[in-house]
Symmetry: C2
Subunit: 203 residues, 2 copies
Amino acid sequence: MRTLRGVDDKLPGSRRAGRGPRQAQAIYQVTLELLAEGGYDGVTIEGVAARSGVNKTTIYRWWADKDALLGAAIIQSSLLRFEVPDTGSLRGDLRVLVRRVVRLLTEDSTSRVVAAALSAVAGRPRLAWLAREFFADRLSGERAVFGRAAERGELSDSVDPALVLDLLAGAVWSRVILRQMPVTGEFADQVVDVVLEGCGARS
Amino acid sequence: MRTLRGVDDKLPGSRRAGRGPRQAQAIYQVTLELLAEGGYDGVTIEGVAARSGVNKTTIYRWWADKDALLGAAIIQSSLLRFEVPDTGSLRGDLRVLVRRVVRLLTEDSTSRVVAAALSAVAGRPRLAWLAREFFADRLSGERAVFGRAAERGELSDSVDPALVLDLLAGAVWSRVILRQMPVTGEFADQVVDVVLEGCGARS
């Protein structure tokens, strides 16, 4: 491992964020499968190599260690990524966003990955960067929703998108992950209505 | 263990929620210490007995197994419990509540316990009851804040307290646990202001 890392460090462009080998999405998928099945301890570079059929040296060429691979998988996997909506109205966009958060936290294919990722990060302060980067990445995409709303005169550009998203996504997290209760479509619409009203949004 | 449980089942009032031996708070404290130090796997009845100096049979007399003890410790420990505020106004009460959630998630003595509890529950569907009971217990206390607000004419009694608390506490959770960012007093006041405005609250 030491030797491989030494060699890899000399390869230009290796292990940069946002890049990866051709098989990156397949590697991410296996990494998240192993995370969902066995938690943080269930993820090993060897296990990912075995199940994905990608050579271990290829994986090490791109990611220095398990935490780097796990970070790339959580942040860049298509499984946990969704397109930023553009419905033509702020209310419409936020309703779509909230419903996507609900699906992410409740559908079997993603909820087990999210629970395992949350469990891994919550218990390991050294993985705090992973959560920070994941949400910073999502926020940078979601700012477009607020930019368009400001252009349409729906929302003052003094309203902080991060605050709005913390209220919306936080309410869903609280209901699903903390209270362990079901989320209805009515709940999803209510949180959007309360937050938009509270931010002085105009339809 | 089997034998002890058999005997215990015949003791009237044993292992009821909300009750416990005289040393209950000391046992809870040790249980949460072990949880913070070693996660879910770090908690064992034997370990709790050894560190608290309470006989193992006494612990088993009250809690059938580790999950029952962990549940009692998380739900009933004074460490994770705070008095429901009564400042004379809804805004005042909610500001106090939000600041207490911030402290719970950021102060060293509690944040490590919360992270370990979240990690344990997120990764184990069979512990979902524990999260549900914890938040149901807190909600039942916090309803008093909304009852008084309705009496003072500050908030319609058609507003769902759980929705308001999901928005407020969820925003703090999102900022601290998901984004892993600091929460300022300004952020805490802003979430209260947005949610109260959004719910049509009157000062």
